[in-house]
Protein backbone atom coordinates (compact mmCIF):
# COMPACT_ATOMS: atom_id res chain seq x y z
CA UNK A 1 0.00 0.00 0.00
CA UNK A 2 2.90 2.35 0.78
CA UNK A 3 4.27 1.98 -2.71
CA UNK A 4 0.86 2.68 -4.24
CA UNK A 5 0.49 5.75 -2.02
CA UNK A 6 3.99 6.93 -2.96
CA UNK A 7 3.33 6.67 -6.67
CA UNK A 8 -0.15 8.19 -6.44
CA UNK A 9 1.34 11.07 -4.45
CA UNK A 10 3.91 11.55 -7.18
CA UNK A 11 1.24 11.57 -9.91
CA UNK A 12 -0.90 14.06 -8.00
CA UNK A 13 2.10 16.33 -7.35
CA UNK A 14 2.92 16.10 -11.04
CA UNK A 15 -0.67 17.06 -11.90
CA UNK A 16 -0.59 20.02 -9.50
CA UNK A 17 2.45 21.37 -11.32
CA UNK A 18 0.90 20.69 -14.70
CA UNK A 19 -2.77 21.56 -14.25
CA UNK A 20 -3.16 21.95 -18.00
CA UNK A 21 -3.46 18.18 -18.16
CA UNK A 22 -6.73 18.44 -16.25
CA UNK A 23 -8.17 21.31 -18.25
CA UNK A 24 -10.08 19.09 -20.69
CA UNK A 25 -11.74 17.43 -17.68
CA UNK A 26 -12.60 20.80 -16.13
CA UNK A 27 -13.94 22.15 -19.40
CA UNK A 28 -16.06 19.09 -20.10
CA UNK A 29 -17.40 19.15 -16.55
CA UNK A 30 -18.25 22.84 -16.84
CA UNK A 31 -20.26 22.18 -20.00
CA UNK A 32 -22.01 19.21 -18.37
CA UNK A 33 -22.75 21.41 -15.36
CA UNK A 34 -24.23 24.31 -17.28
CA UNK A 35 -26.06 22.48 -20.09
CA UNK A 36 -28.99 21.08 -18.01
CA UNK A 37 -29.60 24.50 -16.43
CA UNK A 38 -29.66 26.12 -19.86
CA UNK A 39 -32.32 23.60 -20.95
CA UNK A 40 -34.36 23.62 -17.71
CA UNK A 41 -34.11 27.24 -16.58
CA UNK A 42 -32.36 29.66 -18.94
CA UNK A 43 -34.27 28.88 -22.18
CA UNK A 44 -37.73 28.97 -20.52
CA UNK A 45 -36.83 32.28 -18.88
CA UNK A 46 -35.52 33.75 -22.12
CA UNK A 47 -38.56 32.64 -24.12
CA UNK A 48 -41.03 33.34 -21.31
CA UNK A 49 -42.58 29.95 -21.94
CA UNK A 50 -42.79 27.51 -19.05
CA UNK A 51 -41.76 23.91 -19.63
CA UNK A 52 -44.92 22.79 -17.86
CA UNK A 53 -46.96 24.46 -20.62
CA UNK A 54 -45.58 21.97 -23.13
CA UNK A 55 -47.78 18.89 -23.53
CA UNK A 56 -44.68 16.69 -24.08
CA UNK A 57 -43.23 17.63 -20.73
CA UNK A 58 -46.60 17.39 -18.94
CA UNK A 59 -46.73 13.62 -19.42
CA UNK A 60 -43.16 13.24 -18.19
CA UNK A 61 -43.89 15.51 -15.23
CA UNK A 62 -46.97 13.52 -14.23
CA UNK A 63 -45.00 10.27 -14.37
CA UNK A 64 -42.15 11.84 -12.45
CA UNK A 65 -44.40 13.32 -9.76
CA UNK A 66 -45.84 9.90 -9.03
CA UNK A 67 -42.48 9.04 -7.45
CA UNK A 68 -41.99 9.63 -3.75
CA UNK A 69 -40.14 12.84 -2.99
CA UNK A 70 -41.35 14.57 -6.13
CA UNK A 71 -45.04 14.78 -5.19
CA UNK A 72 -44.73 18.15 -3.44
CA UNK A 73 -43.16 19.86 -6.43
CA UNK A 74 -45.20 22.16 -8.65
CA UNK A 75 -45.41 21.10 -12.34
CA UNK A 76 -42.53 23.37 -13.42
CA UNK A 77 -40.38 22.19 -10.48
CA UNK A 78 -41.08 18.55 -11.34
CA UNK A 79 -39.94 19.06 -14.91
CA UNK A 80 -36.81 20.92 -13.77
CA UNK A 81 -36.01 18.11 -11.31
CA UNK A 82 -36.62 15.51 -14.04
CA UNK A 83 -34.26 17.25 -16.48
CA UNK A 84 -31.56 17.82 -13.87
CA UNK A 85 -31.72 14.19 -12.82
CA UNK A 86 -31.65 12.85 -16.38
CA UNK A 87 -28.51 14.85 -17.10
CA UNK A 88 -26.76 13.66 -13.95
CA UNK A 89 -24.89 10.75 -15.68
CA UNK A 90 -23.41 13.30 -18.10
CA UNK A 91 -22.12 15.34 -15.18
CA UNK A 92 -20.59 12.25 -13.60
CA UNK A 93 -18.99 11.04 -16.80
CA UNK A 94 -17.51 14.35 -17.84
CA UNK A 95 -14.62 14.31 -15.34
CA UNK A 96 -13.96 10.67 -16.28
CA UNK A 97 -13.69 11.54 -19.94
CA UNK A 98 -11.30 14.31 -18.99
CA UNK A 99 -9.18 12.09 -16.71
CA UNK A 100 -8.73 9.72 -19.61
CA UNK A 101 -5.86 11.91 -20.83
CA UNK A 102 -4.06 11.32 -17.53
CA UNK A 103 -4.69 7.58 -17.50
CA UNK A 104 -3.81 7.15 -21.15
CA UNK A 105 -0.43 8.80 -20.66
CA UNK A 106 0.27 7.02 -17.38
CA UNK A 107 2.55 4.17 -18.46
CA UNK A 108 3.50 5.33 -21.95
CA UNK A 109 4.27 8.78 -20.50
CA UNK A 110 6.72 7.28 -18.00
CA UNK A 111 8.35 5.37 -20.82
CA UNK A 112 8.65 8.43 -23.04
CA UNK A 113 10.09 10.47 -20.17
CA UNK A 114 12.58 7.61 -19.55
CA UNK A 115 11.44 7.36 -15.95
CA UNK A 116 9.97 3.88 -16.26
CA UNK A 117 13.17 1.84 -16.09
CA UNK A 118 14.36 3.19 -12.72
CA UNK A 119 10.81 2.79 -11.47
CA UNK A 120 10.69 -0.86 -12.53
CA UNK A 121 14.06 -1.44 -10.90
CA UNK A 122 12.44 -0.86 -7.49
CA UNK A 123 10.58 -3.68 -5.73
CA UNK A 124 7.22 -2.35 -7.01
CA UNK A 125 4.88 -5.08 -8.23
CA UNK A 126 2.79 -4.88 -11.40
CA UNK A 127 -0.40 -4.68 -9.34
CA UNK A 128 1.00 -1.78 -7.31
CA UNK A 129 2.13 0.04 -10.43
CA UNK A 130 -1.19 -0.35 -12.26
CA UNK A 131 -3.27 0.40 -9.17
CA UNK A 132 -1.25 3.57 -8.53
CA UNK A 133 -1.62 4.69 -12.13
CA UNK A 134 -5.39 4.15 -12.10
CA UNK A 135 -5.81 5.88 -8.74
CA UNK A 136 -3.64 8.78 -9.88
CA UNK A 137 -6.23 9.47 -12.58
CA UNK A 138 -9.33 8.40 -10.61
CA UNK A 139 -8.83 10.55 -7.52
CA UNK A 140 -8.76 13.87 -9.40
CA UNK A 141 -11.77 12.65 -11.36
CA UNK A 142 -13.70 11.88 -8.15
CA UNK A 143 -12.64 15.18 -6.61
CA UNK A 144 -13.93 16.98 -9.69
CA UNK A 145 -17.18 14.99 -9.53
CA UNK A 146 -17.68 16.05 -5.90
CA UNK A 147 -17.05 19.69 -6.79
CA UNK A 148 -19.31 19.50 -9.84
CA UNK A 149 -22.07 17.75 -7.90
CA UNK A 150 -21.83 20.40 -5.15
CA UNK A 151 -22.09 23.14 -7.77
CA UNK A 152 -24.98 21.31 -9.45
CA UNK A 153 -26.99 21.09 -6.24
CA UNK A 154 -25.98 24.63 -5.25
CA UNK A 155 -27.09 26.00 -8.63
CA UNK A 156 -30.36 24.09 -8.35
CA UNK A 157 -30.95 25.60 -4.90
CA UNK A 158 -30.21 29.06 -6.27
CA UNK A 159 -32.07 29.12 -9.58
CA UNK A 160 -34.50 26.19 -9.76
CA UNK A 161 -37.95 25.93 -8.16
CA UNK A 162 -37.99 25.39 -4.37
CA UNK A 163 -37.48 21.74 -3.42
CA UNK A 164 -35.74 20.73 -6.65
CA UNK A 165 -32.31 20.58 -5.03
CA UNK A 166 -33.66 18.16 -2.41
CA UNK A 167 -34.46 15.74 -5.24
CA UNK A 168 -30.82 15.93 -6.32
CA UNK A 169 -29.75 14.98 -2.82
CA UNK A 170 -31.93 11.84 -2.88
CA UNK A 171 -30.57 8.31 -2.86
CA UNK A 172 -31.07 7.87 -6.60
CA UNK A 173 -28.90 10.86 -7.50
CA UNK A 174 -26.30 10.09 -4.88
CA UNK A 175 -26.02 6.48 -6.10
CA UNK A 176 -25.49 7.67 -9.67
CA UNK A 177 -22.95 10.33 -8.67
CA UNK A 178 -20.93 8.48 -6.06
CA UNK A 179 -21.32 4.80 -6.87
CA UNK A 180 -22.02 4.37 -10.56
CA UNK A 181 -19.81 7.27 -11.57
CA UNK A 182 -16.62 6.22 -9.75
CA UNK A 183 -17.04 2.56 -10.75
CA UNK A 184 -17.54 3.50 -14.39
CA UNK A 185 -14.59 5.82 -14.10
CA UNK A 186 -12.51 3.02 -12.63
CA UNK A 187 -13.39 0.75 -15.55
CA UNK A 188 -12.62 3.40 -18.15
CA UNK A 189 -9.37 4.45 -16.53
CA UNK A 190 -8.24 0.86 -15.98
CA UNK A 191 -8.85 0.12 -19.62
CA UNK A 192 -6.86 3.21 -20.58
CA UNK A 193 -3.97 2.23 -18.28
CA UNK A 194 -4.03 -1.35 -19.66
CA UNK A 195 -3.80 -0.03 -23.20
CA UNK A 196 -1.21 2.53 -22.10
CA UNK A 197 0.99 -0.35 -20.97
CA UNK A 198 0.66 -2.11 -24.33
CA UNK A 199 1.02 0.75 -26.76
CA UNK A 200 3.62 3.38 -27.43
CA UNK A 201 1.06 6.04 -28.18
CA UNK A 202 -1.10 7.66 -25.49
CA UNK A 203 -3.77 8.56 -28.04
CA UNK A 204 -4.60 4.91 -28.73
CA UNK A 205 -5.08 4.32 -25.02
CA UNK A 206 -7.32 7.34 -24.74
CA UNK A 207 -9.52 6.26 -27.61
CA UNK A 208 -9.93 2.69 -26.37
CA UNK A 209 -10.56 3.82 -22.79
CA UNK A 210 -13.30 6.07 -24.08
CA UNK A 211 -15.18 2.99 -25.30
CA UNK A 212 -16.37 2.41 -21.73
CA UNK A 213 -17.99 5.83 -21.76
CA UNK A 214 -20.18 4.89 -24.72
CA UNK A 215 -22.56 2.46 -22.94
CA UNK A 216 -23.00 4.98 -20.17
CA UNK A 217 -23.67 7.67 -22.72
CA UNK A 218 -26.31 5.29 -24.03
CA UNK A 219 -27.86 5.19 -20.56
CA UNK A 220 -28.17 8.97 -20.66
CA UNK A 221 -29.90 8.90 -24.04
CA UNK A 222 -32.18 6.05 -22.97
CA UNK A 223 -33.17 8.03 -19.89
CA UNK A 224 -33.95 11.12 -21.91
CA UNK A 225 -36.15 9.15 -24.28
CA UNK A 226 -37.97 7.64 -21.30
CA UNK A 227 -37.20 4.05 -22.28
CA UNK A 228 -34.99 3.47 -19.27
CA UNK A 229 -34.78 4.89 -15.77
CA UNK A 230 -31.83 4.73 -13.40
CA UNK A 231 -33.71 3.77 -10.29
CA UNK A 232 -31.77 2.86 -7.15
CA UNK A 233 -32.05 -0.94 -7.71
CA UNK A 234 -31.02 -0.56 -11.37
CA UNK A 235 -28.09 1.64 -10.35
CA UNK A 236 -26.99 -0.88 -7.71
CA UNK A 237 -27.21 -3.74 -10.23
CA UNK A 238 -25.10 -1.85 -12.77
CA UNK A 239 -22.65 -0.94 -9.99
CA UNK A 240 -22.28 -4.60 -9.00
CA UNK A 241 -21.61 -5.56 -12.61
CA UNK A 242 -19.08 -2.74 -12.92
CA UNK A 243 -17.36 -3.90 -9.75
CA UNK A 244 -16.84 -7.34 -11.28
CA UNK A 245 -15.74 -5.79 -14.55
CA UNK A 246 -13.22 -3.62 -12.67
CA UNK A 247 -11.74 -6.66 -10.92
CA UNK A 248 -11.55 -8.50 -14.24
CA UNK A 249 -9.84 -5.53 -15.88
CA UNK A 250 -7.20 -5.40 -13.13
CA UNK A 251 -6.53 -9.11 -13.60
CA UNK A 252 -6.24 -8.67 -17.37
CA UNK A 253 -4.07 -5.59 -16.89
CA UNK A 254 -1.59 -7.50 -14.73
CA UNK A 255 -1.56 -10.41 -17.19
CA UNK A 256 -0.94 -8.09 -20.15
CA UNK A 257 1.71 -5.94 -18.49
CA UNK A 258 4.97 -7.10 -20.01
CA UNK A 259 7.92 -5.36 -18.37
CA UNK A 260 10.35 -6.79 -20.89
CA UNK A 261 8.50 -5.58 -23.97
CA UNK A 262 8.05 -2.16 -22.45
CA UNK A 263 11.75 -1.86 -21.69
CA UNK A 264 13.20 -3.44 -24.78
CA UNK A 265 10.82 -2.87 -27.67
CA UNK A 266 9.28 0.54 -27.13
CA UNK A 267 11.22 3.35 -28.72
Amino acid sequence: MNRIAALVGKDLADLRRHPGLFWPAGLTAAIALVLPFVVAIVIPRLTGELLSDSSDFQIAAEMYRSQSGARDLDPEGAIQAWILQQFLPLLVLAPVAGSMAIAAASVVGEKQARTLEPLLATPITTFELLAAKVLGALLPSIALTVVCFGCYVGLAAAVARPGVFWILLGSRSLAVAFLLGPLAALAALQLAVCVSSRTNDARSAQQIGALVILPLGGVLVAQLTGSFTLTVPVTLSIAAALLLFDALLMWIGIALFDRESILTRWK
Binding site: R3, G9, A13, P118, T122
Partner: protein, 321 residues
Protein backbone atom coordinates in the same frame (compact mmCIF):
# COMPACT_ATOMS: atom_id res chain seq x y z
CA UNK B 1 32.20 -20.01 -23.00
CA UNK B 2 32.86 -16.35 -22.15
CA UNK B 3 33.77 -15.95 -18.53
CA UNK B 4 35.32 -13.61 -16.02
CA UNK B 5 36.07 -14.47 -12.44
CA UNK B 6 37.26 -12.08 -9.76
CA UNK B 7 39.56 -12.70 -6.85
CA UNK B 8 37.04 -11.92 -4.11
CA UNK B 9 33.81 -13.71 -3.26
CA UNK B 10 31.18 -12.44 -5.66
CA UNK B 11 28.18 -10.38 -4.60
CA UNK B 12 26.63 -10.75 -8.04
CA UNK B 13 27.27 -13.46 -10.55
CA UNK B 14 26.12 -14.26 -14.08
CA UNK B 15 26.34 -17.85 -15.26
CA UNK B 16 26.22 -18.52 -18.99
CA UNK B 17 23.75 -15.72 -19.65
CA UNK B 18 22.17 -15.67 -23.07
CA UNK B 19 19.45 -13.32 -24.20
CA UNK B 20 17.80 -13.31 -27.59
CA UNK B 21 15.17 -10.98 -29.01
CA UNK B 22 13.46 -12.98 -31.72
CA UNK B 23 16.23 -14.19 -34.00
CA UNK B 24 18.70 -11.59 -32.76
CA UNK B 25 21.18 -12.67 -30.12
CA UNK B 26 21.90 -9.73 -27.80
CA UNK B 27 24.10 -11.54 -25.28
CA UNK B 28 25.57 -15.01 -25.67
CA UNK B 29 26.92 -17.32 -23.00
CA UNK B 30 28.24 -14.60 -20.72
CA UNK B 31 29.62 -15.46 -17.32
CA UNK B 32 31.02 -12.89 -14.93
CA UNK B 33 31.11 -12.04 -11.29
CA UNK B 34 31.80 -8.95 -9.26
CA UNK B 35 32.86 -8.91 -5.64
CA UNK B 36 32.79 -6.22 -2.97
CA UNK B 37 35.38 -3.49 -3.45
CA UNK B 38 35.65 -4.13 -7.18
CA UNK B 39 34.82 -2.01 -10.18
CA UNK B 40 34.28 -4.11 -13.28
CA UNK B 41 34.04 -2.00 -16.43
CA UNK B 42 31.95 -3.41 -19.22
CA UNK B 43 33.24 -2.18 -22.57
CA UNK B 44 31.85 -2.77 -26.00
CA UNK B 45 30.55 -1.06 -29.12
CA UNK B 46 26.95 0.10 -29.40
CA UNK B 47 24.66 -2.92 -29.59
CA UNK B 48 27.24 -5.18 -27.92
CA UNK B 49 24.75 -6.18 -25.24
CA UNK B 50 25.99 -4.04 -22.34
CA UNK B 51 22.60 -2.57 -21.38
CA UNK B 52 20.89 -5.93 -21.87
CA UNK B 53 23.46 -7.49 -19.55
CA UNK B 54 22.85 -4.83 -16.90
CA UNK B 55 19.08 -5.28 -17.21
CA UNK B 56 19.41 -9.03 -16.76
CA UNK B 57 21.65 -8.53 -13.75
CA UNK B 58 19.15 -6.05 -12.30
CA UNK B 59 16.32 -8.53 -12.73
CA UNK B 60 14.45 -6.29 -15.15
CA UNK B 61 14.52 -8.80 -17.97
CA UNK B 62 14.95 -12.54 -17.76
CA UNK B 63 17.77 -14.33 -19.54
CA UNK B 64 16.79 -16.73 -22.32
CA UNK B 65 19.33 -19.12 -20.82
CA UNK B 66 21.64 -19.02 -17.85
CA UNK B 67 21.12 -17.48 -14.45
CA UNK B 68 21.93 -14.51 -12.27
CA UNK B 69 22.63 -14.95 -8.60
CA UNK B 70 22.86 -12.26 -5.95
CA UNK B 71 24.58 -13.11 -2.68
CA UNK B 72 24.53 -16.70 -3.84
CA UNK B 73 20.75 -16.76 -4.37
CA UNK B 74 19.41 -17.37 -7.86
CA UNK B 75 17.21 -14.63 -9.24
CA UNK B 76 13.85 -15.79 -10.58
CA UNK B 77 10.28 -14.54 -10.64
CA UNK B 78 9.76 -15.30 -6.97
CA UNK B 79 13.01 -13.75 -5.74
CA UNK B 80 13.56 -10.90 -8.20
CA UNK B 81 11.65 -8.20 -6.28
CA UNK B 82 13.47 -9.02 -3.02
CA UNK B 83 16.92 -9.39 -4.57
CA UNK B 84 16.49 -6.09 -6.38
CA UNK B 85 16.74 -4.56 -2.92
CA UNK B 86 20.47 -5.42 -2.96
CA UNK B 87 20.95 -3.73 -6.31
CA UNK B 88 21.12 -0.10 -7.32
CA UNK B 89 20.64 0.46 -11.04
CA UNK B 90 21.63 3.76 -12.58
CA UNK B 91 20.01 3.88 -15.99
CA UNK B 92 21.60 5.59 -18.96
CA UNK B 93 19.18 8.52 -18.69
CA UNK B 94 18.81 10.02 -15.20
CA UNK B 95 15.04 9.35 -15.41
CA UNK B 96 13.98 11.99 -12.90
CA UNK B 97 10.42 13.24 -12.75
CA UNK B 98 10.97 16.69 -14.14
CA UNK B 99 7.99 18.39 -12.50
CA UNK B 100 8.96 17.16 -9.06
CA UNK B 101 11.62 18.74 -6.91
CA UNK B 102 14.87 16.95 -6.12
CA UNK B 103 13.63 16.18 -2.61
CA UNK B 104 10.27 14.90 -3.89
CA UNK B 105 11.98 12.66 -6.45
CA UNK B 106 14.12 11.08 -3.75
CA UNK B 107 11.25 10.80 -1.30
CA UNK B 108 9.06 8.89 -3.76
CA UNK B 109 11.90 6.43 -4.36
CA UNK B 110 12.63 6.09 -0.64
CA UNK B 111 9.00 5.07 -0.16
CA UNK B 112 9.00 2.80 -3.22
CA UNK B 113 12.01 1.03 -1.74
CA UNK B 114 10.04 0.56 1.47
CA UNK B 115 12.67 2.31 3.63
CA UNK B 116 12.10 3.13 7.28
CA UNK B 117 12.06 6.87 8.00
CA UNK B 118 12.20 7.80 4.29
CA UNK B 119 12.39 11.54 4.95
CA UNK B 120 15.48 11.09 7.14
CA UNK B 121 17.14 8.91 4.51
CA UNK B 122 16.46 11.54 1.87
CA UNK B 123 17.89 14.34 4.01
CA UNK B 124 21.01 12.25 4.58
CA UNK B 125 21.34 11.61 0.84
CA UNK B 126 20.97 15.33 0.10
CA UNK B 127 23.94 16.00 2.38
CA UNK B 128 25.99 13.06 1.17
CA UNK B 129 25.66 14.04 -2.47
CA UNK B 130 25.97 17.77 -1.73
CA UNK B 131 22.67 18.65 -3.35
CA UNK B 132 20.90 20.13 -0.33
CA UNK B 133 20.99 23.65 -1.78
CA UNK B 134 19.08 22.39 -4.83
CA UNK B 135 16.64 20.16 -2.91
CA UNK B 136 13.69 22.46 -3.54
CA UNK B 137 14.40 22.95 -7.25
CA UNK B 138 12.41 21.14 -9.89
CA UNK B 139 14.40 18.39 -11.58
CA UNK B 140 13.74 20.11 -14.91
CA UNK B 141 15.80 23.09 -13.73
CA UNK B 142 18.96 21.07 -13.04
CA UNK B 143 22.01 20.77 -15.26
CA UNK B 144 22.74 17.35 -16.73
CA UNK B 145 25.56 16.81 -14.24
CA UNK B 146 23.35 17.63 -11.29
CA UNK B 147 20.61 15.38 -12.62
CA UNK B 148 23.10 12.57 -12.78
CA UNK B 149 24.15 13.26 -9.22
CA UNK B 150 20.52 13.16 -8.07
CA UNK B 151 20.05 9.93 -10.01
CA UNK B 152 23.07 8.46 -8.23
CA UNK B 153 21.64 9.58 -4.88
CA UNK B 154 18.40 7.85 -5.84
CA UNK B 155 20.31 4.71 -6.83
CA UNK B 156 22.00 4.60 -3.41
CA UNK B 157 19.02 5.56 -1.23
CA UNK B 158 18.38 1.99 -0.13
CA UNK B 159 22.08 1.42 0.48
CA UNK B 160 22.59 -1.38 -2.07
CA UNK B 161 25.86 -3.28 -2.00
CA UNK B 162 25.74 -3.95 -5.75
CA UNK B 163 25.73 -1.07 -8.21
CA UNK B 164 24.99 -1.36 -11.89
CA UNK B 165 25.85 1.88 -13.64
CA UNK B 166 24.91 2.32 -17.28
CA UNK B 167 27.15 4.98 -18.82
CA UNK B 168 27.18 7.17 -15.71
CA UNK B 169 29.30 9.93 -17.23
CA UNK B 170 27.74 9.96 -20.69
CA UNK B 171 27.20 13.52 -21.90
CA UNK B 172 28.63 15.15 -18.78
CA UNK B 173 31.13 17.99 -18.83
CA UNK B 174 34.64 17.07 -17.59
CA UNK B 175 34.07 18.49 -14.10
CA UNK B 176 30.78 16.66 -13.58
CA UNK B 177 32.30 13.48 -15.01
CA UNK B 178 35.18 13.75 -12.54
CA UNK B 179 32.69 14.19 -9.66
CA UNK B 180 30.85 11.05 -10.72
CA UNK B 181 34.12 9.10 -11.07
CA UNK B 182 35.21 10.16 -7.59
CA UNK B 183 31.90 9.03 -6.26
CA UNK B 184 32.19 5.66 -7.96
CA UNK B 185 35.66 5.17 -6.48
CA UNK B 186 34.28 6.09 -3.05
CA UNK B 187 31.59 3.44 -3.49
CA UNK B 188 34.23 0.84 -4.29
CA UNK B 189 36.21 1.87 -1.24
CA UNK B 190 33.10 1.33 0.85
CA UNK B 191 33.21 -2.30 -0.24
CA UNK B 192 30.43 -2.26 -2.80
CA UNK B 193 30.52 -4.22 -6.02
CA UNK B 194 30.34 -1.87 -9.00
CA UNK B 195 29.63 -2.92 -12.57
CA UNK B 196 30.01 -0.03 -14.91
CA UNK B 197 29.11 0.14 -18.58
CA UNK B 198 30.92 2.89 -20.44
CA UNK B 199 32.49 4.07 -23.67
CA UNK B 200 35.02 6.27 -21.85
CA UNK B 201 38.24 4.29 -21.92
CA UNK B 202 40.26 6.84 -19.99
CA UNK B 203 37.67 6.59 -17.26
CA UNK B 204 38.06 2.83 -17.20
CA UNK B 205 41.82 3.21 -16.98
CA UNK B 206 41.47 5.48 -13.98
CA UNK B 207 38.96 3.65 -11.87
CA UNK B 208 38.30 0.07 -13.00
CA UNK B 209 39.90 -2.83 -11.19
CA UNK B 210 38.93 -5.19 -14.02
CA UNK B 211 37.73 -4.80 -17.58
CA UNK B 212 35.38 -6.99 -19.61
CA UNK B 213 35.14 -6.39 -23.34
CA UNK B 214 31.82 -7.50 -24.74
CA UNK B 215 30.62 -7.92 -28.27
CA UNK B 216 27.58 -10.13 -27.80
CA UNK B 217 30.04 -12.64 -26.30
CA UNK B 218 32.73 -11.82 -23.81
CA UNK B 219 35.89 -11.19 -25.84
CA UNK B 220 38.35 -10.63 -23.04
CA UNK B 221 38.36 -9.93 -19.35
CA UNK B 222 41.15 -9.07 -16.95
CA UNK B 223 42.81 -6.12 -15.26
CA UNK B 224 43.75 -3.29 -17.64
CA UNK B 225 47.48 -4.00 -17.04
CA UNK B 226 47.11 -7.70 -17.78
CA UNK B 227 45.18 -7.01 -20.99
CA UNK B 228 47.91 -4.63 -22.11
CA UNK B 229 50.51 -7.26 -21.33
CA UNK B 230 48.65 -9.96 -23.25
CA UNK B 231 48.24 -7.85 -26.36
CA UNK B 232 51.24 -5.58 -26.45
CA UNK B 233 53.75 -7.21 -24.11
CA UNK B 234 55.34 -5.47 -21.14
CA UNK B 235 57.37 -2.68 -22.63
CA UNK B 236 59.67 -0.19 -20.96
CA UNK B 237 61.01 3.05 -22.35
CA UNK B 238 64.66 3.94 -21.67
CA UNK B 239 65.81 7.48 -22.27
CA UNK B 240 69.56 7.95 -22.73
CA UNK B 241 71.82 10.91 -23.40
CA UNK B 242 72.71 11.11 -27.08
CA UNK B 243 71.69 8.79 -29.89
CA UNK B 244 70.06 5.63 -28.53
CA UNK B 245 70.89 3.68 -31.71
CA UNK B 246 74.51 3.42 -30.45
CA UNK B 247 73.44 1.08 -27.65
CA UNK B 248 71.14 -1.31 -29.51
CA UNK B 249 73.93 -3.85 -30.02
CA UNK B 250 74.57 -3.94 -26.25
CA UNK B 251 70.97 -4.98 -25.72
CA UNK B 252 71.03 -7.54 -28.51
CA UNK B 253 74.02 -9.17 -26.81
CA UNK B 254 71.87 -9.96 -23.73
CA UNK B 255 69.09 -11.36 -25.90
CA UNK B 256 66.72 -8.39 -26.39
CA UNK B 257 65.25 -9.07 -29.85
CA UNK B 258 62.93 -6.17 -30.55
CA UNK B 259 64.45 -2.78 -29.75
CA UNK B 260 62.57 0.23 -31.11
CA UNK B 261 64.50 3.47 -31.24
CA UNK B 262 63.38 7.04 -31.72
CA UNK B 263 66.15 9.66 -31.17
CA UNK B 264 67.38 9.19 -27.61
CA UNK B 265 64.60 6.82 -26.54
CA UNK B 266 64.59 3.04 -26.87
CA UNK B 267 61.60 0.81 -26.22
CA UNK B 268 61.96 -2.88 -25.34
CA UNK B 269 59.56 -5.73 -24.61
CA UNK B 270 60.45 -7.29 -21.28
CA UNK B 271 58.12 -10.22 -21.79
CA UNK B 272 60.30 -11.52 -24.64
CA UNK B 273 63.67 -11.53 -22.90
CA UNK B 274 65.23 -13.56 -20.15
CA UNK B 275 66.80 -10.47 -18.49
CA UNK B 276 65.10 -8.09 -16.04
CA UNK B 277 65.36 -4.29 -15.91
CA UNK B 278 68.50 -4.13 -13.72
CA UNK B 279 70.28 -6.45 -16.19
CA UNK B 280 69.22 -4.21 -19.08
CA UNK B 281 70.41 -1.12 -17.24
CA UNK B 282 73.74 -2.77 -16.41
CA UNK B 283 74.24 -3.71 -20.07
CA UNK B 284 73.57 -0.17 -21.23
CA UNK B 285 75.79 1.43 -18.60
CA UNK B 286 78.51 -1.09 -19.49
CA UNK B 287 78.24 0.10 -23.09
CA UNK B 288 78.80 3.66 -21.93
CA UNK B 289 75.24 4.93 -21.97
CA UNK B 290 74.10 7.67 -19.60
CA UNK B 291 70.58 6.74 -18.61
CA UNK B 292 68.17 9.62 -17.93
CA UNK B 293 64.98 7.66 -17.23
CA UNK B 294 63.42 4.19 -17.28
CA UNK B 295 59.63 4.26 -17.45
CA UNK B 296 57.01 1.63 -18.13
CA UNK B 297 55.44 2.07 -21.54
CA UNK B 298 51.66 1.84 -21.45
CA UNK B 299 49.75 1.68 -24.69
CA UNK B 300 46.44 3.52 -24.32
CA UNK B 301 43.56 1.29 -23.29
CA UNK B 302 41.91 2.41 -26.50
CA UNK B 303 44.58 0.49 -28.45
CA UNK B 304 43.89 -2.60 -26.36
CA UNK B 305 40.16 -2.27 -26.88
CA UNK B 306 40.39 -1.69 -30.62
CA UNK B 307 42.82 -4.58 -31.03
CA UNK B 308 40.47 -6.90 -29.18
CA UNK B 309 37.53 -5.87 -31.31
CA UNK B 310 39.44 -6.17 -34.58
CA UNK B 311 40.75 -9.60 -33.57
CA UNK B 312 37.18 -10.64 -32.81
CA UNK B 313 36.02 -9.33 -36.18
CA UNK B 314 38.82 -11.20 -37.94
CA UNK B 315 37.90 -14.42 -36.13
CA UNK B 316 34.28 -14.05 -37.15
CA UNK B 317 35.24 -13.66 -40.82
CA UNK B 318 37.70 -16.51 -40.91
CA UNK B 319 36.56 -19.19 -43.35
CA UNK B 320 35.53 -22.34 -41.53
CA UNK B 321 37.46 -25.51 -42.26
Amino acid sequence: MSSIRGNVSPLIRADHLTRTFGARVAVEDLSLEVGGGEILALLGPNGAGKTTTLRMLAGLIAPTAGAVSVHGETMDRSTAARLRGHIGLLTEAPGLWERLTVRENLLVYARLQGLDAPATRVERALDLFEIRDRAGDLAAELSKGLKQRVALARTLLHNPDILLLDEPTSGLDPESARDVRELVVRLREEGRAVLLSTHHLDEVDRIATRVAVLSTRLIAADTPAALRGQLFGVRVRITVTGDAQMYVSALERIGVPDVRVVDNVMSIDLSQIPADIPAVVRALVGAGAEIEAVTPEQPPLEDVYLRLLSDRLATQHEPRA
